[in-house]
């Protein structure tokens, strides 16, 4: 039943042999070793597995791998370039916006998606944008601070 499925992840092309309805998350983690995307619930409720599909945040535990064949996928591993952190990663680091940090990859990917769609979100829009991501350690205020910092630096970079 397995067929070769072409994937484009972080600008790199792969072909994987997997049952077509396998959630993308398991292919990323178990087959490709891209373990930065986390399993947290398997029902799209926690956001720990968030990746960008054609630039938009999606729960990779909820997408069948064959549904993303050939479409550009960005995971946390593809965010920093040549050792330089993405502004959102840098903002999370500067704000110390984590404790156990298991939710951090998903938070960062959701934030990137949010800021790409809305470079200057209001606090309410940040809450709305991250409402689907669970942080059990309670780093929420720092995460909001990080998003606000990143919004500033994304703007700064564009100028």
């Amino acid at each position: 039943m397995a067929e070769s499925i072409p994937l484009e992840i972080n600008g790199k092309k792969y072909a994987v042999n997997y049952a077509p309805d396998t959630p993308l998350l398991y292919v990323l983690r178990d087959e490709l070793g891209l373990t930065g995307s986390k399993y947290g619930c398997g029902e799209g409720m926690c956001g720990a597995c968030t990746v960008l599909l054609a630039g938009v945040a999606r729960r990779s535990c909820q997408i069948a791998v064959n549904a993303v064949a050939g479409r550009p996928i960005l995971t946390i591993e593809g965010l920093d370039k040549d050792g330089e952190l993405h502004p959102v990663q840098q903002a999370f680091l500067d704000a110390g916006a984590f404790q156990c940090a298991y939710c951090t990859s998903g938070m960062i990917m959701s934030t990137v998606s949010l800021l790409q769609a809305n470079p200057h979100p209001t606090p309410e829009q940040i809450v709305q944008g991250l409402q689907g991501n669970i942080c059990r350690c309670g780093a929420h205020p720092r995460i909001i601070e990080a998003v606000q910092k990143a919004a500033g630096s994304v703007k700064g970079r564009a100028q």
């Binding site: 983690r29 947290g40 029902e43 965010l79 110390g96 156990c100």
Partner: protein
């Protein structure tokens, strides 16, 4: 400060609430120099440094182990000047990897960047009973200071000998020993190269007082933050050793179900599956998770289930099934309750209940186990690696030295990762996998169902106050939930406090703060009721009955920041206060809420909390812990509750078990009081305790309705 350590014996009901093992299987150091480079450790014995003796309950009862006295067991100085600290504590998000490195750097006199920590690896770190009870800071900080101080003094002695100088005139710091007179200096790495085994540390070996700290006490960021923001940190769930198999366990349909029929003939032909049945344990391992699941799905099994009580019946059950107090420590009396009640101008009696809740750490329980040549290696997110080692050794009949448990920095625990379950299951599968490593990651449903819970509790309180507002009598009975913070911190002459044990209904164990949250909820709600009954201001009433200066200090600091007393600006607004102390730290929380008129839904708009835990080791990490505990506390206060019926959990998903999300988070202020004159206490638990009663008391202020059950929303809506 001599840096000696108190002898510490855990009271299990106060520091631990122990979950029993889940499976009954029928089946039956010190080589780190190879890894870290030879010849650079200091082999001296540190005096008085190993008095710390933690004990913890395990399957064989209480476990004791001598802590090593050699400096080299705790500290290693590398050729390049890198200092490595070895501690058995686990990093679970509470930031010990950073705070312990700060402590070593501060005392030894090296740059913070040059210190790294090896944590929670039974093969290379000293024994540790577990990362719990807010014990990491109060035990490991003085231990590492003592060791680092002795090492520093030895290096100074060594330099003094070499230069023929007086040791007292030399200066140690910045990774080297310097002679200010001659300007000569030697790096620690050069000095440690020499054999200093014969050196004895000085008899008097004071460690730095907090007022002289330079690196400790600073808000340094998490040491390996970059690994986390790039997704490169490897949690247990992320490990992929060569030849990895994925494991899956066949779970019974309900708690306590036993396997009465088992037919694996449909799986027999599958050569790529490792199948294990051992008693009621059934599991499979295959090259993919789907492969293991497919094999289990082919089994023909029958379970015998037991009728069990449901959440609707739990509180009467707890009351009716309490065991008589067998031990003195469960029942404490002072003065005469009858006299105290007779002297009271106002008396008040109430019952409080607290629901079962789940830890729900975002990284579920998981382990990777490998069995080679009669030896196990297990990587696992656990708070008790040495207990996991001992469990594995006992269950698989191997010597403890043939079991190595390594804890990768873990996706949180909150008291929930004390048991060995995932490690034992992965090891049981690995035992049959012919040397291939087996990874087992619990699903969220398994995590919510088969882990253990913060126990439910029923608490009955009677209180009396005199006409002048002074407490005259206090009677407090906790059924089942636990003894943490059961004693009132308020001054009262006539007291009865009793903890009533009840046989477990659901598998229960430690949870951040243990029963301190339940006991504070009952006590601080009752105190609020007494104040309101007497027409007194809730803060003034507390202060009038409080002589503990540290608790007064947090109350006053938080009240000042909150602006107590406050005038209502709108109809359904309310303000509440609660305070307490436990495990050597103090907390006061003020809440501002609004109550939605129709639905009675509680909206927490602002929380102000003051916290004091002695000398602060890392104010940034501490603030993160305090704010995090406040937010986590919102869940148990407002809406978290495990629903169960007939041995099944009916809300074992994040879609049905609500945890705090961004929209639930109010404006939060944390005020940290730094008491440099008091030894540092732990801070992971106490900041959660006063959140629920502060909100409940604010609800009364808003509505004149008293809530007596956690979660509050279950009673208000």
């Amino acid at each position: 400060m001599k840096g000696e350590l108190e002898t510490f014996v855990l009271e299990p009901e106060r520091f631990e609430f122990r979950a029993l093992p889940m499976h009954q299987f029928a089946l039956g150091r010190r080589d780190f120099f190879k890894v870290f480079g030879a010849g650079l450790a200091i082999f001296a014995v540190v005096k008085e440094a190993s008095a710390a003796q933690e004990t913890a309950p395990g399957p064989q009862g209480f476990h004791n182990e001598e802590l090593p006295k050699q400096i080299g067991a705790w500290l290693h100085i590398g050729e390049d000047g890198t200092v490595t600290g070895f501690v058995g504590k686990a990093e679970i998000g509470q930031n010990v990897r950073t705070s312990l490195a700060q402590t070593i750097a501060d005392e030894l006199g090296v740059a913070f960047e040059n210190v790294r920590m090896v944590l929670a690896d039974t093969a290379v770190t000293p024994f540790d009973a577990g990362t719990f009870g807010s014990r990491s800071t109060p035990t490991m900080t003085p231990q590492l200071r003592k060791v680092a101080s002795a090492a520093r003094d030895l290096l100074v002695e060594k330099a003094a000998k070499q230069w023929n100088a007086q040791a007292e005139k030399l200066v140690a710091g910045n990774g080297k020993v310097t002679d200010p007179a001659s300007g000569k200096s030697l790096r620690y790495a050069e000095l440690a190269r020499e054999d200093v085994a014969q050196q004895k540390p000085p008899a008097e070996d004071p460690v730095k007082p907090a007022s002289a700290w330079t690196i400790a006490g600073q808000p340094l960021p998490k040491v390996d933050g970059r690994e986390f923001v790039t997704g490169r940190h490897r949690y247990s769930t992320d490990l992929r050793p060569d030849g990895l198999l994925h494991g899956k366990v066949l779970r019974p349909p309900s708690f306590g179900a036993t396997l009465v029929a088992y037919d694996d003939s449909a799986v027999k032909g599958m050569t790529d599956v490792v199948l294990v049945r051992d008693g009621d344990f059934v599991g499979a391992a295959a090259t993919t998770v789907a492969g293991a699941e497919a094999a289990l799905a082919k089994l023909q099994v029958k379970w015998k289930e037991l009728p069990q009580i449901s959440d609707r019946e739990i509180f009467p059950y707890l009351k009716n099934n309490a065991e008589p107090s067998k031990e003195e420590r469960f029942r404490k009396m002072k003065g005469s309750l009858a006299e105290g009640m007779a002297a009271a101008a106002k008396r008040l009696e109430a019952s409080y209940t607290v629901a079962y809740i789940a830890h729900a750490p975002l990284e579920p329980r998981a382990a990777v186990a490998q069995w080679i040549d009669g030896k196990f290696t297990v990587w696992m997110g656990t708070q008790r690696p040495f207990a996991v080692r001992d469990d594995l050794a006992a269950i698989f009949h191997v010597p403890a030295e043939n079991v190595r448990v390594i804890v990768p920095d873990t996706g949180a625990a909150y008291g929930g990762k004390h048991t060995s379950d995932a490690g034992l299951e992965a090891a049981r599968l690995a035992r049959a996998a012919g040397g291939r490593p087996v990874k087992l990651v619990w699903t969220r449903e398994e995590e919510f169902t088969w882990a253990y819970f913060r126990p439910a509790g029923l608490i009955e309180v009677k209180g009396g106050i005199a006409a002048d507002g002074k407490l005259t009598a206090w009677e407090f009975h906790n059924y089942h939930s636990g003894m943490s913070a059961i004693d009132t911190p308020y001054a009262v002459a006539n007291v009865l406090t009793e903890y009533h044990q009840v046989p477990l209904v659901l598998r229960s164990g430690s949870y951040r703060g243990l029963a301190a949250t339940a006991n504070h909820f009952a006590r601080e709600t009752h105190m609020d009721s007494l104040a309101r009954t007497a027409g007194l201001d809730p803060l003034a009433f507390r202060l009038a009955n409080l002589s503990d200066v540290r608790m007064r200090a947090v109350l006053l600091a938080a009240a000042n920041a909150f602006g107590w007393p406050r005038q209502k600006m709108e109809e359904n607004q309310g303000f509440g206060v609660a305070a307490g102390c436990e495990k050597g730290s103090y907390v006061a929380t003020f809440a501002e809420i609004s109550v939605e008129a129709k639905t009675r839904a509680i909206r927490v708009n602002r929380l102000v909390e003051a916290f004091e835990c002695g000398a602060i080791v890392n104010p940034d990490g501490l603030r993160n812990q305090v704010v995090g505990a406040m937010i986590q506390g919102l869940g148990g206060a407002l809406f978290e509750s495990i629903h169960f019926e007939n041995g099944r959990i009916s809300n074992a998903r994040f879609s049905s078990y609500r945890v705090p999300r961004f929209r639930d988070v109010p404006k939060i202020e944390a005020i940290l009081l730094d008491r440099k004159d008091i030894p540092s206490a732990g801070a992971g638990e106490t900041p959660i305790m006063a959140v629920a009663p502060a909100i409940g008391n604010a609800y009364f202020d808003a509505t004149k309705v008293r809530l007596t059950s956690l979660p509050l929303q279950s009673q208000s809506g």
